[in-house]
């Protein structure tokens, strides 16, 4: 007889441990019991928050990418073939069409003011060890001068300083522009972008065969997060010789400066000097990128408004239906001593829990969407943004509790007599 009694006591004791009664427990148990009914409301919150998080994450990384690309490019004026478009900015040297390299000399021998640096480039796709990469011909010091992110690549370059920074002894700005094309990369040397180095297992001093010729890796460039990571850089004249193009380039990047640039004199001068080329300023590029980002920002605001409206109405509807369904319960709770405030609190706690869960899941859904679709939609690598989790939860909780406020107040003001007499 002792065992069943002990077992019963143990069961009662276990049950005692399990049961705690507080408003939040009542809410959680109700949510658990009627989980299928809240699924629709929860899905709406999750989708809404997910869309906002997804758009914000993509916009954030798109803006970052613009900043990073601009930072890494350094150049603020591009001289392109006539057929190039502004969208070719980051890959301006891949457009296929060519410009005469002589344009560099035309500029350097002109009396054009405000030119700090010129970086002509010529790029071709090549296959090395069955890996497709781009081989870009550069004039190394000029390239380095325009790219702050390359400055940690080793000792082959020196750090330029300030506007008019080319490290050539100059007496005045006019003469400085005429002495910019300096060789610092030997014909058999290459610089390798970090991604290519990783793909081809290249180290400094590694040998490399390109189009049947042997090269030596002089430096592995630091990771920049730009197209440069996937490139191999050789001297411009080496690339011209390898591909038998003659003295041509795809693009001339220029660091313009001072009032000549800000007043538009430099661009006007370049247009007159090189009528067969297209001169594009960074202002145009920034505007284009900013327009895209602004559009995405506006879209996220529109999404937020839609989520607030549709989500709010859905939550309020769900709450009204839930209150109607639970009116017996409300009547019983009032009869056993619950205050209207307690009834109101029970529904608001429920709304807050819905908001919390919806916000957290919505954040992860949005982040997964952004990370998965971001590279395809915004053409930028997208990573999770943990800082958005707090905002997601906050917006979600605000949305659900504010939407539930009127239903909760209505529940608190229900006439127990009406409820209990209809029972």
């Amino acid at each position: 007889m002792r065992r069943p009694l002990l077992a019963a006591v143990a069961e009662v004791a276990a049950a005692r441990q399990r049961n705690k009664m507080r408003s939040i427990n009542i809410v959680i148990k109700e949510l658990y019991e009627r989980k299928s009914r809240l699924l629709t409301a929860l899905i709406i919150i999750i989708l809404g928050i997910g869309v906002i998080v997804g758009i914000r994450t993509m916009t954030h990384f798109s803006e970052k990418a613009v900043a990073r690309e601009l930072d890494s490019l350094g150049a603020n004026v591009l001289i392109l073939p006539k057929s190039a478009t502004i969208s070719d900015y980051y890959t301006a040297d891949l457009v296929g069409e060519e410009l005469p390299e002589a344009y560099v000399d035309v500029i350097t021998t002109s009396d054009l003011q405000g030119v700090d640096n010129l970086s002509p480039k010529l790029t071709f796709p090549v296959t090395i060890d069955e890996e497709d990469v781009y081989l870009t011909g550069i004039l190394p010091l000029n390239e380095f001068t325009s790219k702050p992110l390359w400055q940690t690549a080793g000792t082959i370059f020196s750090l330029p300083e300030g506007c008019g920074s080319v490290s050539v002894p100059v007496s005045d700005k006019a003469t400085s522009t005429r002495n910019r094309t300096i060789d610092s990369l030997a014909p058999n040397e290459v610089l390798v972008g970090s991604e290519v180095a990783s793909r081809l297992n290249l180290l400094v001093d590694s040998p490399l065969i390109i189009k049947g010729e042997e090269f030596t890796v002089t430096a592995i460039l630091p990771q920049t997060g730009t197209v440069d990571d996937g490139r191999i850089f050789a001297h411009l004249h080496t690339v011209q010789r390898l591909f038998e193009t003659g003295p041509v380039v795809n693009v001339i990047e220029m660091v313009g400066c001072c009032s000549e640039l800000s007043k538009g004199l430099l661009v006007d001068g370049l247009n007159k000097l090189l009528p067969d080329a297209k001169v594009v300023t960074i202002g145009q590029i920034v505007n284009t990128q900013q327009n895209t980002n602004n559009m995405m920002s506006k879209f996220s605001v529109i999404s937020l408004i839609i989520v607030v409206l549709i989500g709010g109405i859905s939550i309020a509807n769900y709450m009204f239906a839930n209150i109607h369904e639970r009116r017996k319960e409300i009547g019983a709770l009032l009869a056993i001593g619950a205050t209207p405030g307690k009834i109101c609190a029970i529904f608001l706690i429920k709304a807050a829990i819905l908001g919390l869960v919806g916000g957290i899941i919505g954040y992860f859904v949005g982040t997964i969407l952004a990370v998965t679709l971001g590279p395809r939609i915004a053409d930028v690598p997208v990573l999770p943004l943990p800082s958005l989790l707090g905002y997601s939860v906050l917006i979600s909780i605000l949305l659900t509790t504010l939407s539930s406020l009127i239903p909760a107040i209505r529940a608190a003001r229900m006439d127990p007599a009406d409820i209990l007499r209809e029972i």
């Binding site: 049950a15 005692r16 399990r18 019983a332 709770l333 009869a335 001593g337 007599a417």
Partner: protein, 226 residues
Amino acid sequence: MIKVENLSKKYKVKGKDIFALREVDFTIEDGEFVIIVGPSGSGKSTLLLTLGGLIHPTSGKVFLDGKSIYALSVKERAEMRKTSLGFIFQTFNLIPYLTSLENVQVPLYLAGKSPVEQKNIATQLLTKVGLGDRLEHKPSESSVGQQQRVALARALANNPAVLLADEPTGSLDPALSEELLSWLVTLQKEGHTIVMVTHNRDAVRYATRSMTLINGSVSENGQIVS
């Protein structure tokens, strides 16, 4: 002691005034078991809910231990229901997603008891009504009789002086009705004041006093029936 003075309750239905209670006067002493009998629509439930501080009367007063309950604030009346009154309903009104134990814990939680006290008291009460082995059963897993006993335990949770029962036998078969009425008699003997409304005249034999309510008026006020 419950004292009702000149109590009237009027509802407006489709623009017409309908009196649920008309100038009702009576007094119920502590420890009485009073059954108020009346047909459907006679105002029984309205009277009981008015006694419980849940329906504002159109006129008149209800005193509980000398306090006019409708002179109290909403919060004070809720406090009074928590500590001094226990309700039993015809359809039990148990919270469907809570276990028997949790249902009995709710009024204890509302009264501010600690979780340990809640569990101890709820377990004792459920054991007292014969449900010590069904603490973890939800209403849907319990029989009608068991649900009514859980409702009884919940009504007793805060050891109220007054138990108000609205047709508590309405959903029960005769055997279960007798069992519940016997429980109420036991509770009355333990010192609780019990006010029960029902349409079942047979129940009055368990009461110390009965009244009849017809069209909102008390037409009979008898002494001990059995």
